[in-house]
Structures are given as C-alpha cells and as structure tokens.
C-alpha cells in the first residue's frame, strides 16, 4: 500500500505526446520514489483552462469540471483531486469554491450533470501536486530520497502566475514565494535571486498576441541570465512551454542569443533521486539541459 493515494488529474497538456508530456513522465518518476500512488481519474475531460471563458460561459465551464469531481468521487472516493497544471488546478479550485458558496449554482450544475447520469456531492478537495509535496510529504521528506546533488547548477525559480495567484501555496507571499527555491536547494542546487519570479508569460495570449507576449518572455529569460542562472525551473506547463519554445523566435527577431533550458521541479527532483535522464523526461526538452543530463548519467 502506497504511503499516499491521490486522484490524479493530468490535464490535456500532460497527456502522452502532448506539450507537457515530459512533465508527466517526471512527475510519475518522482511520485514513485516518494511512494505516492497516482490514480488517474477515469475518463477525465479538459478543465476548460482560463481561455475557455469566451465561448464557454460560466455554467458550462463549471459543469465540465464538476464532471471530473463526480467521476473522482465515484471511482476514487476519499482521495484528493490533484493536478500538476496551474490552469487545471485553478479551474478546479475556483469551481469547487463556487459550488460550495452557491447552492443555486450547485443545483444548476447537478441538473447539467444529470444529463449524463452523474452528480457532484462535494466530497473532494482540489489540490496542486506542489501542495501534496510541501504539506503532506514536507521538505524533510522531500530531501530524504536525495542521492545525487545538483551542486554547481544555478537555477532561476520562475513561479509565474496561476500557481501563485489568486490562491497560491499556503504560507507563501504573492510577490516572493519561496517554495521553488527551497526545492532547488534541497536537491543541492543553487537558487539565484530572480526579479521576474512572478511575471506573467502571456499565457494563452502567446498564441493570439505573439508580439506582446514575447516581450514578457524576453524579460523573464533576460533576467535569469542577468542573475547568473544556468537554467530556469517552473511548476507550470504553460510557463514552461512559452518560455522555452519562443526563445528561438525572439533570437531570430531581436538578435538575442537565448539558449536557456527551462525545467520542471519534478525533473530536478527525479534526477536528485537517482532517476535516469529518460525517467526525468530530459529527452523532452527543446533546449537540452546538458548539465542535468550529465548528473543523471553518472
């Protein structure tokens, strides 16, 4: 029996061969080492993300997320619904809070769910993987399985928006959250001071307003270089993708020489726990993190 069981909500970007497939691979390896059993919610659907608002409206968005809760309650009773994606977590938490606050919305939601023979009871708790790590396992517990040190690598901890606002991780500030730096340090790496820690990467507007978003991304990468970082580390799949894949675009248009790897916390921990480069999903980087690959290969 695993130390901890969670109802896992991967979200669309973390499916096989999707843009954050390397996040999923590394989270799985990390959870294996920590003895956390990730039980995928059967037949889960998309959370609607933030950008779903325009066509989706409120009730359809709430209803599709409530469908995931209803499935978790039915198939994985008593387990927290845990997501790794910031936007999924936000959608889940927001939905849960609104359903708790408004009996009216809850009645309408259940009327919609009834169309598929489901109902939402309100027995689940929406959480982020980072909360499970910090609150249930704890920093000491996270440090215990470390067998390799990431010594000598400097990381800029880029928290971004939605893992941080409006809910954030309990006990952390909006302007300067510390947990990512603490994770870097317990893995033996160095967390450099970083003034773009909570800057917005442009989110979905990286698609629809590329010029404006790339200005954000440029600031985020530039500041990591200015503070002497070798790599950026983040908990958010949209931040990871935006900040990694647009560097070549920015280089082309603006003559910069960006080539900064952007990793997930779960990849750092997997390597520190003795996982291989493949187990850490390092083959999924577009900008290779060669120094981490070296440590993983030792």
């Amino acid at each position: 029996m695993a130390k901890k069981n969670i109802a896992f909500y991967p979200g669309c970007s973390s499916q096989r061969k999707s843009s954050a497939a390397n996040y999923l691979v590394s989270v799985q390896s990390m959870c294996d080492k920590l003895d956390i059993a990730m039980n995928e919610i059967p037949d889960w659907n998309c959370c609607g993300a933030s950008i779903g608002y325009a066509e989706g409206g409120e009730l359809p968005r709430v209803a599709i997320t409530a469908r995931n809760f209803a499935l978790a309650e039915k198939h994985l009773p008593g387990q927290d619904v845990v997501s790794t994606c910031a936007a999924c977590w936000l959608a889940n938490r927001e939905t849960q809070e609104r359903l708790e606050a408004s009996p009216h919305l809850r009645a309408e939601t259940n009327e919609a769910l009834g169309a598929a023979g489901l109902s939402y009871q309100g027995n689940t708790k929406a959480r982020h993987m980072v909360e499970v790590l910090i609150e249930d396992i704890g920093y000491e517990g996270l440090k215990a399985p470390v067998v390799k040190s990431l010594e000598g690598i400097k990381f800029a901890g880029y928290v971004g928006c939605q893992t941080n606002r409006p809910f954030g991780i309990a006990g952390e500030s909006f302007e300067n959250p510390q947990y990512l730096d603490k994770m870097v340090e317990l893995a033996g790496g160095e967390a450099v001071p970083y003034d773009q820690k909570v800057t917005c990467c442009g989110g979905a507007l990286a698609f629809s307003e590329p010029e404006k978003s790339q200005k954000q991304i440029r600031d985020i990468v530039e500041s990591a270089y200015d503070h002497g970082a070798d790599m950026i580390v983040t908990p958010c799949p949209l931040c990871q993708a935006n900040v990694e894949v647009y560097q070549s675009e920015i280089n082309k248009k603006q003559g910069t020489q960006f080539n900064m790897p952007v990793l997930y916390y779960s990849q750092l921990l997997t390597v520190a726990y003795g996982g291989t480069a493949a187990e850490a999903g390092l083959d999924g980087q577009i900008i290779r993190a060669s120094r981490l690959e070296e440590i993983a290969g030792k």
């Binding site: 061969k17 066509e55 989706g56 606002r165 629809s208 980087q285």
Partner: protein, 205 residues
C-alpha cells in the same frame, strides 16, 4: 447608449444588466476607482480601457463602449489585479464574464485574435472532451486563410519541429487524438449547461 440585443428587462440600466448576466457582475459596484488594477496588467499598455475604466463606464451606463471594447480580450488571466485590489473585486472573472457576454450578444470586436482563439479553443476541447493541441495550433495558423497559414506555419516551423522531436507534439492527432469514452454524456452536460445559462440570461441558444 445602444440597446442592441439588450434583454427587455434591463432597458436603460446597464449596471443591473451586468449584475444579472455577467459572471461576478454583482461585484462591479464595489469598485472604489483607486486604479491599482490599471497598473497591474502585464499587457496594460495595449489596453484601450483598464478594468478601472471599464467599471466606471458600466456605472455610467456606457453599454456599447464597454461591450465593443477590445480591452477584455487583452486579459492574460494573470490574477495580479485580484491579488492586489483593496476591495477584493474578482476582476479577472468580471473581465472574462464581460468578454463572454459581449461575445454571446455578438457585440465583441470581429476578428479580435484572442476572441477567435478562445472560440477555437472551446470548440476544440468540447469536440472530443480533451484539447487536440495539433489541430488547435493548425487551426490558429490557418484562421486567416491558406496562404497566411502556410506563411505562419513556415515561420514557426522551428518551434513545431522542436516539439515533434521532443515527442511533445503528435502528428497522429490529425486523425482524432485523445478522446473520451463517454463522449455522448459529456456533450449532453455541455448542452444542458448552456441551455440553463441562456435561459437564465433571457437569450435563446
């Protein structure tokens, strides 16, 4: 003030209309016009109207100016404003709610890129229950026609090939990709939810 597509019950009272029909709209009247939100938006310099201005315009009954503004479509959902607003307005949600309402009434700016992308995103995810990233990307590139799509695709070729090589974009998704088992049930939920919401707003689906 225009009354285009305005539900009869709210003639000449835009604030009431917003309170009844816009997500979290009942909170608009709590704004004290301090301007903190206006200084918080990451794409702030590109907004025609900051959230502060939008809320003031709602109270002044400027229905057409608000609903046709492209301001709401510049919101990246960064939640800076919510974290900082001294009156605890759920600004992000109100901006999303206004965008949705303007879109449903057909008053939102035509061809606004984020509006188009957001619609494409929702249609993409509701089709199979999960987002098909390949079709979403292609659909976005080709929205202005084949020529523009090929040009855009070529410009972004490096990005696509990189993702492909890293196994983070699946060419086979063109054939359908990930999909729900109970897709019929999922569609029934979405349809029902929309029907209830439209009924509440006095709109026809």
């Amino acid at each position: 003030m225009t009354t285009a597509n305005q539900p009869a019950a709210y003639r000449n009272d835009f604030l009431k209309e917003v309170e009844a029909n816009v997500e979290e709209g009942h909170m608009v009247k709590m704004c004290m016009q301090c301007g903190v939100c206006a200084g918080s938006c990451p794409l702030g310099s590109h907004w025609e109207h900051s959230p502060q201005k939008i809320f003031m315009m709602i109270r002044a009954g400027k229905r057409e100016e608000v609903l046709t503004s492209d301001a709401m479509w510049m919101c990246t959902s960064c939640y800076n404003c919510i974290a900082r607003c001294p009156r605890k307005l759920p600004i992000t949600h109100i901006m999303h709610g206004l965008a949705n309402y303007a879109h449903r009434l057909g008053l939102a700016p035509k061809g606004q890129p984020t509006r188009d992308f957001a619609v494409m995103f929702w249609n993409n995810l509701t089709k199979t229950g999960r987002v098909n990233e390949l079709k979403l990307t292609l659909g976005h590139y080709f929205k202005d026609g084949i020529g523009a799509g090929i040009k855009k695709g070529l410009e972004m070729k490096g990005v696509g090939l990189g993702l492909l090589k890293a196994k983070r974009l699946n060419p086979m998704e063109i054939l359908g990709g990930h999909k729900l088992q109970d897709l019929a049930g999922f569609h029934a939920i979405v349809a029902k939810a929309r029907e209830i919401e439209d009924r509440r707003r006095g709109l026809s689906s």
